[in-house]
Subunit: 304 residues, 4 copies
C-alpha cells in the first residue's frame, strides 16, 4: 500500500473541508471543552509500516473503545462463561438504554453497550481490587501497543464518576437481577478509569494490531476469539448506528464518545481515527466519514 | 480449494449425526409436513467449480432468502431513495414484530425483517401489476443463476396467504403511516409468491454468485451495492439471531423459514445450505451449524 | 338540583370564552370539516328532568362512546367469557396502539381502546351478519334512550373505512393470535358503522341513564355489570388521558373522537357533552373542561 | 351500618376458608418469614364507630400504603408543582418497572409506582435531613390516626436497603434526567424507613379517615386534594392490577407489599385490611377478596 500516505493526506484534507463536524460529548465536562473539528488518523499495515495524517500526536481518552480491550481480557479470564451473562446480539437501542435490560431480565444484549461493558468490567474484578484490575487492563493495552507510555487520565475518570448517574442506574439494575458480582461503586470506579485510558491515534492503531492478525505482533488472544470480537464490532460496535457503519464503511469498528474509532481490516491493517465531534448515534462524525472514504479508496471492506 | 469436496462430505456426515435437527416451520401448512432432518449443501467457487453434498437435487421454497434478490432488484428500480422508507439497522426483534414499527412510525428497521421486505416488494409494484412484478423477480433470479428452470410453487404461496394475518397487519400498519403505496392485498399477494420461489441448493448458490463478486458471472448490481447488501446480510440477515450468526459463522448470510440459507464468502464462494428444522430464531438449525463448520474448515470468515 | 339550569348556562358561557377549543379529528374527512368551537351539554337527573345548554339539537357521531354500549350488549351475549379475550387494565398507550398487543400476544388491555373494542364487536357477529349485528346495536341504544329516531350516518362510516388502515392492522394482528373469530373486513365494517351512530347530547344523556342507575328507566344490564362498566370508564375511558380525567373530573366517562363524552354520576345523573375540538389525548378539550366545572359546581365527583 | 360487625365476622370466616392465600413477599427477608394466611380488617365509619375482625392488634409495616401519606404531605409542601415531576396516569407496568421511565425521560407516570414515590420522598427532603423528613412523616400519620404510638420498624428498613438494588437503579436513573434533587442514598434511606412505618389495621383505618372526609376528624388536606388522591388511588393504587381492583372492588385503595390495603368509601368509611399473602400483581390476595366482599355486602362501590 505505497499509496496510503497520500490517501490519508487526502482524507485529512477532505475532513477539514467538511461543512459539519458534529458536537463534542456534552455530558462529560472534560470532553465538552474539546474542539470538535480536530482530526487525526493512523494506519498500521501488515508490513509493519505506520501511516498518519492530522494531529497524530494528540492524546484523547479512548472511552468506549476500551470495551474491546476489556472484552479480550475478560475472555482470557473467564472464557466463554462470559456469554452466560452477556449476549452477542445488536441492541437496537441507545448505548445507555436501560429499557431492554428490563425486558431481558438484567442480561445485556452485548458487551459493547454500557450495560454489557459494566458486566465485563465486573468480571475483571474477580479476586482483585480495582487498582489491580486497572493495572491488568493497562498492562494489556501497553503490551498490545508495545508502548509503556500509555496512561489513564484521572481527571476525566473523576469527571465521569460525577456525572455517571445513568451508568449507576444500569449497575444497580443488573445487581437487582444478580448479574453484578461486585459493588456498583467499585465496578463503575474501575469502568470509568478504563474509559479514561489516553492514547493518540498511533498508539491506538498499534494497540489494535492483534485484532487485525498482523504478522510479528503480540498475539494476545486466539484466532477464533479475534474473529468473534471482530464480528461483535461489526454487529454491535456503533450502538444503534452499527448497521449504518457496516453499510457505509464495511469494517469491524468500535467507537468512543471521546471521538476515537478503532477499525480493523483483517489481515491488512489496524486503523485509528479521532475527531471529537459526534453524530446522532454518539459516534465520531468525521471519524466515520474518514473511514468510509478510506474503505472506498483502499477496497478494504470485508464485504467484497 | 481442492479439498472442498471432502470437506462438504464430512460436514454432511456430521449433520446427519447431530442429535438435534430443529423443528420445521409449523405456521405454513406446506412446510410443516417436511422432514426436518433433510440436509443439502452446495458451494460455487471463484474458479467456477460447484461442490455439493446431501440432497442437492431437492427443491425447497427459498422464503425469506428472496428478500436479498428483491432488495437488489428494488435498488435497481428506485435507487437509494429506498432508504427513505426502510432503515439499515438491526431490529433486535423477531422477524414479524410490529412493536418497533409503532415506535418508528411505520418505517421498518431494515429490508430483511418482514415489514421491510414488504416495503421492498411494494416498490417492485410501481407501474406494474403483481404478475409483471413477479415476472421481473423470476427473471432476475434466473439470470443470476443462469438457469431458466426456476419456478414458483403456487400451492405454498396460497397456503401462506391463508395464514398470513401477521403480514397483513404489518402491511396495513405501514399503510396507516403512508409507507405503503399499493393495496395490502396486492403487495402481499406478490410477496408470498416471491417467497415461494423454488430452488435446490445448487440453483441457490449459483443465484448468489453476484453477491460474492465471482468472476465470469452476470454482475447484476454495482460493486458498492454488493458490499452494502452483504453488510446488511451480516447485521440483519438472521433477524434477532444475526449477532449469533456473525459470531459463529462470520459470513454474510440470509436465511429463510423453509430451511434454506444463502451465505457469501466475498471473492471466494457463494454457498447454499438447506435443512428444514429451525432453531429458536427461526433459522435452519443444521444449516447454521454446517456453515459454522465450513467457515472453520476453510478459514473463509470475513473477520480474520 | 334546582340550580342545574343556571349551572349549565354558566358552563356554556365559560366554554365559549375559553381561549382554546382544540382541533377537530383530522384523519376522518367527515369530522375534519366540523367547527371545533361548537358546544352542547345535557344532563338527565334522577328525578327524570333534562337540563341543557348550547347546541343541544345538533347531532354528532358518537364514535368511541359507542364502545360502552357495545360492551354492555356483548356482556349480555357472551357474559364474563368476554374477559378471556380482553383485559380490564389501563393501557398506558394511545387509543390505536399496536405495540402492547404484541407484548400481550393479541389480547387487548381493555375494551375501550380500539383493539379491545374490535374484539367486542367481533363477539356481536357471532351467529349473525353485520347488518343484523348493527340492527341489534341500534335497538339497544334506542331502547336505552327510549328514542326510535336514532340513526347511523353511513357517509361517516364509509369515510372511516377508507382511512381505517390502523384498525385493519389491529384486526389482522389479533387474527394472527387467534383472537378474532370473524373476517377483519366484516368486523371492521360493523365497527365503523357502530361508531357512526348519530345522536345529540340529549339523546346521548338519555342513552346513558342505565349506567347511572336512574329510577324508572329501562335497566338493560345487571347492577353488578353497571358498576363494572363504570369502573372501566374511570380507569380506561379516556385512553392514556384516563388518569387525568379521573383526577380532574372524578366521574366515569367515555369519550369519542367526534367530540362527545358520556359521563355518569351514579345514582344522580347521566351527562353528555359535545365539542369537536380535541386535546392531546384525543378527547374533547372543551367537553373535558365543562365536565370538570360541572363536577366542581355540583360536588358529584365519586371521589368525595 | 348496624350490620357491619356481623359482615366483617362473616368476611373473616370466608377468608379463613379460602383455598388460597397467596405468597408473602420474598425479596424482603423480614417479610418473607411472615405467615401468609393471617388476616385482619378494620372499618371506621362516619359516625365514629370502629368495627374489626381477625388479628386487628397485629402490627405490620405499611410499605407502599405510605405512598398515600407521603403524597398528601408533599402536596402540602410543594403544591401542584409536584405534577411537573410526576404524572397522574396509570403505568400499565409493574411497580418497580424502569422501562417506562426511559420512554418518558425520567418522569414517573404516577406517585404510586416506586419511581414516583421516590420523587415524592425527594420533595420531603427539601431543606431538611432524612431524620427530620421522617419525623415529619411520622407526625403526619400520627395526627391522621390521632395515635402517637405509631413507630417505624428499623430492622425492616435496614433489610430493604440491603435488597433495594432495583430502587437504587430507579433513583440513579431519575438523577440522570435531573429529576432527583437529593442524593439517591439519602432519598432511599428516607423512603425505606417511610415504608417501614408499622401499624395494625385499626391504626391504619384511622389514619385514612381524612381521605374518606369523615366528620370530626383532623382534615389534613383540602377537599379538592382529597378527591384527587382518591382518584389516583383508583387509577394507580394497585400498579398493573389497578383496573382489576376498580372492576372488582370499586373503591379507591392503596396496597402495600406487606399485605396491607387502605380503602376509602368517600363520606362513609375508612377501611384497612391485612393479609400478607400476595396475588400476581403484588397486592394482598385475601385483602383484595375481602374488600370485594365488603363492597358487595355494603353497596359502598363508588360506581353505583
Amino acid at each position: 500500500m505505497t499509496m496510503l500516505g497520500p490517501i490519508l493526506a487526502q482524507i485529512a484534507e477532505e475532513m477539514a473541508a467538511l461543512p459539519e463536524s458534529g458536537v463534542s460529548a456534552d455530558y462529560i465536562l472534560e470532553l465538552a471543552r474539546i474542539d470538535p473539528d480536530q482530526f487525526a488518523i493512523a494506519v498500521v499495515t501488515a508490513d509493519g509500516q505506520t501511516f498518519t495524517a492530522g494531529l497524530s500526536d494528540t492524546a484523547f481518552t479512548i472511552q468506549s473503545v476500551s470495551k474491546v480491550f476489556a472484552l479480550a481480557l475478560s475472555l482470557g479470564h473467564v472464557g466463554d462463561a462470559l456469554w452466560q451473562r452477556v449476549g452477542v446480539e445488536p441492541s437496537g437501542q441507545r448505548f445507555d438504554s436501560i429499557l431492554q435490560l428490563e425486558q431481558e431480565r438484567g442480561r445485556p444484549r452485548n458487551p459493547f453497550i454500557n450495560a454489557g461493558a459494566i458486566v465485563v468490567t465486573d468480571t475483571l474484578l474477580d479476586g482483585c481490587v480495582p487498582r489491580e484490575a486497572l493495572g491488568g487492563m493497562l498492562r494489556f493495552v501497553r503490551e498490545a501497543a508495545e508502548d509503556d507510555s500509555i496512561l489513564i487520565d484521572p481527571a476525566v475518570a473523576k469527571s465521569e464518576i460525577a456525572t455517571g448517574a445513568r451508568n449507576f442506574a444500569l449497575a444497580h439494575y443488573m445487581k437487582s437481577h444478580g448479574n453484578l458480582v461486585h459493588a456498583p461503586e467499585l465496578v463503575l470506579g474501575t469502568y470509568f478509569h478504563q474509559c479514561a485510558i489516553e492514547m493518540n491515534v498511533v498508539q491506538l492503531a498499534r494497540a489494535g494490531r492483534f485484532l487485525a492478525s498482523l504478522p510479528d505482533v503480540p498475539q494476545l488472544v486466539s484466532p477464533e476469539r479475534v474473529r468473534r470480537i471482530n464480528a461483535l464490532m461489526v454487529t454491535c460496535g456503533h450502538y444503534d448506528g452499527s448497521g449504518d457503519f457496516a453499510f457505509r464503511v464495511g469494517l469491524p469498528g468500535k467507537s468512543g464518545v471521546g471521538g476515537g474509532i478503532l477499525a480493523i481490516a483483517p489481515g491488512r491493517a489496524s486503523i485509528a481515527v479521532w475527531s471529537p465531534g459526534l453524530n446522532v448515534y454518539g459516534n465520531s462524525l468525521r471519524g466515520t466519514v474518514a473511514l468510509e472514504r478510506l474503505a472506498a479508496l483502499t477496497g478494504w471492506s470485508v464485504f467484497g
